[in-house]
Amino acid sequence: MITRRWLMMVGLGLWVGSAVTVDAQETIKIGAPIAMSPPGSVAQGKEVRDGLTIAQEMLNKGGGVLGKKIEILYEDHQGIPEKGRAAVEKLITRDKVVAITGEHASSVTLADIDVAHRYNIPLVNTNAWSDAVRLKGYPQVFNRSNYNTRVAEAMADVIARMKVKNVVAFAENTDYGTGQAEAMKKALAKVAPDVKFTSRVLDRAAKDFTPAVLPLKADRPDMIVTIMIPPASYVLMNQLYENGIAPSKQTWLYDGAGVADYPEFWDNVKDAGVGLVSFGLYHPKVALTKLGKDVREAYMAKEKREPNRLIFQAADSLFLLADAMTRARSTEADAVIKALRDTRFEGVLGVITFDKEPGIYFQQWKNIPFVTYQLTAKGQQLPDTLLVQGPGIELAVDKLMRPAR
């Protein structure tokens, strides 16, 4: 009897004890729905968060915005559209945030922007590549992020120049993945119509891709393109290598997701990464603006390692919002949105403006810089990688090295 009564106390106590909530003082609240747990890309989520934090600290050290400190409220969406929708709903209705940023997963972002649109809250897209985000044409949404068509065209160009004939793409089952595969098909049809391009959709939640890669042993393509986000992309790369498919003498491995500069990349792929050709959005050999240098410094001081592109994209996202609010002299939605529309802001990599023409470029930083580089040694860090293309660096495919076997 004693035990039972006691257990009841515990049982009921659990509820009483949990009805606590906290309140904050006057700040500018900005919501950041990011992936903090699987199946979402936790790695991306963390990078975005670090980047936002750097910018937040820099801004607040400088007295904040409109005299108020910036407060960022994070919500975990696990890379799941439904959860993202709920998270944004919560940030707007419960936490009363004045703007949203930090998006880094297309499928989720597509759900998020519906909510931001419904409540008319400005949203700066940090890293959602899917063209569909732009095609929705929401006036509240501005894209600091890279976009699929940009990657597709860049990679199609490289593929054409590398003179490969038979390309197989593995795309993850998200708007980003399927979208980029589509875009690449289109782009290739333009620049290299004779290339045989086949794409296969993989479940990002899957862990064993052996059944998907085995058939490639029967007929080996000249190149395999991966359009996947970690951890799935790491698993796929490992299994491509384990099965002796790519990177190999016959088959190039070309990453279209820009994952080679993630801090935990080498812990996960080891030998499988040697010889990987990668699309990227930043390389230390690329010149940074004054702001960029400051961000890099702050980050290096904190994390003791080179920042990667997500850090910069996230930082820029917050700077863009701060800039717009300062110019609008208000955090009121319509004013901020208007200000964002005529943004002309020097971000970490250059001057950011937003295109006005409807379509895939709508409110998009159209000429976002990109790079192409190759990992030539195991454990190689970004600065040491072989840069074959970038702002002011003409594409040189002949510099790429083929794996021995």
């Binding site: 559209p81 959860k83 919560k90 597509l110």
Partner: protein, 326 residues
């Protein structure tokens, strides 16, 4: 001693809870908390449906969330491909999930206990995987955006949901007060014995499956018009786990339990989130404790406490001994 489960008191109490929910908006102004309440009502519909099947008819299905997903996608696909609105979508969802439920009930007739749980789990996963992988039709993991209802206004939506729940609960109470209610529980306690006492087991098991599935489908279809996004996530086994937790915590086999459980769990999860505790961690623990010690959930627990000295209570003898032996 008198049993509370499905007694007139129980039925009255259950409507008491619903009235309580109806009064909530007087106190709750925050858009956000109204959203939570709407979600709670959605889960209440699932909990009530699952309780009919598992708690009352003893058919431990692992598919409630899957049927909600079916409902959501029925109306979602009708909207996406046919441009139909909720008025077509929701009734269609009820019919479709009822039919699938009927079929599942038929094919799993011979299965009980763990076998039934496994089969329904497999079935739920097949549905989810097929929806998640048929990208051309369902957009897979990306989800389908669905038209909203009542202009997304929270209070009207809440009352719409509540209205549906009340109507649904009325139907169930009526059903349980007919001989069907008696047969369901007889089948739950001893299927072969029920046959031997003239109960057409096939018929009533199928009935329970059909009604329960229709209820889940209805809930899913309604909810998805509030979410405005249908995604395979709705059918995750973890969602089913949440529903099961709600019913077990509230009190399996009672009319009030599932409602109390759903509201309590949904509202509490938000409070817990605020203090940085994973809500499912707490609920899972409570589920184990209740499964282990109280069995008839909070409702039964409260009833017992109200009834005073414990030893007098606890229906099944075996259970009482079990607890006392400790």
């Amino acid at each position: 001693m008198r049993r509370l489960a499905l007694s007139p008191t129980d039925f009255v109490l259950s409507f008491g809870v619903l009235i309580g929910l109806g009064l909530a908006p007087l106190g709750v102004r925050s858009e956000y908390w109204l959203g939570i309440l709407i979600t709670a009502v959605y889960f209440a519909m699932l909990a009530v449906s699952w309780n009919l099947l598992a708690g009352i008819a003893g058919l431990f299905s692992m598919a409630p969330a899957a049927f909600a997903m079916v409902g959501a996608y029925t109306t979602g696909l009708l909207h996406h491909h046919g441009g139909f609105g909720p008025l077509v979508g929701i009734p269609a969802a009820v019919v479709v999930s009822a039919l699938i439920g009927f079929a599942l009930g038929r094919v799993t007739l011979r299965l009980r206990g763990a076998y039934l749980a496994l089969t329904t789990l497999a079935f739920a996963e097949i549905l989810r995987l097929v929806i998640a992988n048929s990208i051309e039709i369902t957009r897979g993991d990306l989800g389908l955006s669905v038209s909203g209802i009542l202009g997304g206004a929270k209070i009207p939506t809440l009352y719409l949901f509540l209205g549906v729940l009340v109507a649904y609960q009325l139907v169930l109470v009526w059903l349980l007060r007919t001989r069907a209610g008696l047969y369901f529980r007889a089948i739950r306690d001893d299927e072969l014995g029920a046959m031997g006492r003239g109960v057409d087991v096939v018929r009533y098991k199928t009935l329970a499956f059909t009604v329960s599935s229709a209820g889940c489908g209805l809930a899913g279809a309604l909810f998805v018009h509030f979410l405005q996004l249908a995604s395979p996530e709705m059918g995750l086994i973890l969602q089913t786990g949440l529903v099961i937790s709600m019913v077990v915590i509230g009190g399996m086999g009672t009319a009030t339990g599932p409602l109390v459980g759903a509201v309590l769990v949904e509202v509490t999860s938000e409070a817990l989130r605020a203090v940085g505790v994973r809500h499912m961690l707490v609920f899972a623990l409570v589920v184990i404790l209740i499964g282990r010690f109280f069995r008839d959930g909070l409702v039964g627990l409260v009833a017992r406490l109200a009834r005073g000295p414990l030893p007098a209570a606890a229906p099944p003898a075996a259970l009482e001994e079990g607890a006392a032996r400790r």
